[in-house]
């Protein structure tokens, strides 16, 4: 259990069986009154936010969270298999949970998997990955503007907006947090 005086920005707590992270924190104290700990927090599973004020006597539950380094190994039906970097223990994470991240999984890349009560609640991939463009309209010659974009496709079918000057066969860097084009790595 945490006591109210342990509360601070970044602390992860548990309320009604769900993990929350404190995104904003302030100590306050109305004139001659009791200390109050005001928190803004974000649900680590749903992303919902809420405000909550704690009094000094309150106790707050500690969530069972574990961060593990895991390598992505291979797809298995509707699941993707990761293996623990230390123990090689395998864990299957569903396609549905991973969402668009499935397009950015590269075999043997090191990922951070956050577990709550033993269940994965977040997977952080390497920030940038490199992918070859397999399909896009031919690039406009000499047009180096990056603010004008067009659709392009990578090998696994994921569609991405790229600058006009990108051609089929170019290798680009993709930001896995946003799923967006970052820069060109090499020309075809």
């Amino acid at each position: 259990m945490f006591s109210a005086s342990d509360l601070r920005k970044g602390l992860k707590i548990q309320i009604d069986g769900e993990p929350w992270v404190i995104t904003d924190f302030d100590f306050c104290k109305p004139g001659k009154g009791t200390a109050l700990y005001r928190c803004k927090m974000k649900n680590m599973i749903t992303g919902n936010t809420m405000d909550k004020t704690y009094r000094p006597v309150e106790k707050i539950e500690k969530p069972d969270l574990e961060e593990r380094e895991m390598y992505y190994s291979y797809p298995d039906g509707d699941f993707f298999v990761f293996s623990d970097a230390d123990t090689y223990e395998e864990m299957r994470i569903s396609k549905e949970f991973l969402g668009q991240k499935i397009y950015f999984l590269i075999e043997d890349s090191l990922c951070q998997v956050l577990l709550f009560n033993g269940q994965a609640i977040d997977v952080t991939l390497p920030t940038f990955i490199e992918k070859e463009i397999v399909e896009t309209e031919p690039g406009a010659r000499g047009d180096t503007a990056t603010n004008v974009t067009k659709p392009a496709r990578i090998d696994n079918g994921y569609e991405i907006q790229v600058p006009i000057f990108i051609n089929t066969g170019d290798v680009v860097k993709i930001d896995t947090r946003t799923g967006e084009y970052a820069e060109r790595v090499s020309k075809a």
Binding site: D26, F27, C28, K29, G31, K32, G33, A35, L36, T53
Partner: protein
């Protein structure tokens, strides 16, 4: 703080210096005498939710109240003090364990007279520092020359919360509602005095003669920020002993340090304290208002 951070602080420390000299000029002009009472004291007043920091064989003062009141008992009619006070573990956007308090006492005055005096003090100080009566503070346009708004604590609960102040007290929600629902609504365009607190929150204030359920106490708010606390001071030694005993009981129940009784304070009170009013104002918070700072750490050097 790095040398660069200290350089950036310079303009705000100059505002602070200007404010303090304006405050001194105002009190001097009004016939007050500046005093200095010890920072290291034997015993702070036993207040339920204020913690002293132990030092040497006593404590760093949480406020100069008990010492200044002894001067009032000794016949000092108008006194003020500007100096550091210390409260354990108070760390927040508007709190520091060490802060600067302006505190003054005026014999023969009461809390209502003190309101007008305080409003004039602030208006004059702001004018001297900034050259006008208006302040822009994080989206608030504040006019210090405007007639201050005065609102009773009971009205504030009715207007800004879904329960009366009595219900809020009974349910233990008084402070939470104050912070979440009431304070942000106060002093939006200038000064707001929140007055007549329930007797349970009187601290060292006198109760109202005709409404003993209420205390002659106010707090001043500007832009939602609590700036000052004032009372018609409690002069009755019997009642004062009772309140300290009660506060010590609550402190013991909450597992807090028991302070020794301030014998010299009660000796003075037993001899007789004239009717008087007193006020404590947070200088650092006034500097925040004057420098458009949302966190107290932006107006204080830190080493």
């Amino acid at each position: 703080m790095t040398i660069n951070e200290l350089k950036n602080l310079k303009a705000r420390l100059e505002v602070r210096a200007g404010l303090i000299s304006a405050v001194r000029a105002f009190f001097d002009k009004n016939g007050f005498v500046e005093v200095s009472t010890p920072v290291l004291i034997k015993a702070p007043a036993p207040e339920e939710y204020i913690e002293g920091i132990p030092a040497a064989s006593g404590f760093l003062r949480t406020s100069p109240e008990l010492q200044m009141k002894q001067l009032v008992c000794a016949g000092y009619e108008k006194i003020y003090q500007i100096g550091p006070c210390f409260r354990k573990d108070e760390f927040g956007s508007r709190h520091r364990p060490e802060f600067t308090m302006l505190e003054w006492y005026h014999a023969g005055s009461d809390y209502l007279e003190l309101m007008a005096f305080t409003a004039e003090l602030i208006r004059e100080a702001v004018h001297k520092v900034t050259g006008n009566d208006e302040l822009i503070y994080h989206g608030y346009k504040l006019d210090m020359s405007k007639q201050p708004e005065i609102i009773d604590v009971s009205q504030a609960y009715e207007r800004f919360t879904s329960m009366t102040s009595k219900q809020a007290e009974q349910r233990g929600e008084f402070d939470t509602l104050m912070v979440e629902c009431i304070e942000p609504e106060l002093g939006k365009g200038g000064m707001t005095f929140l007055k007549d607190y329930p007797a349970s929150r009187a601290a060292l204030a006198r109760l109202k003669r005709h409404e003993p359920g209420l205390a002659e106490r106010w707090e001043l708010y500007i832009a939602g920020m609590e700036l000052a606390n004032a009372y018609s001071e409690l002069t009755d030694p019997v009642e004062q002993r009772k309140r300290f005993t009660q506060a010590r009981k609550v402190r013991a129940e909450n597992g807090l340090v028991d302070y020794p009784e301030s014998e010299s304070f009660f000796a003075a009170l037993d001899k007789g304290m004239p009717e008087c009013a007193g006020c404590a104002l947070g200088i650092d918070r006034l500097v925040m208002l004057l420098t458009n700072s949302t966190v107290i750490s932006s107006v204080l050097p830190d080493f």
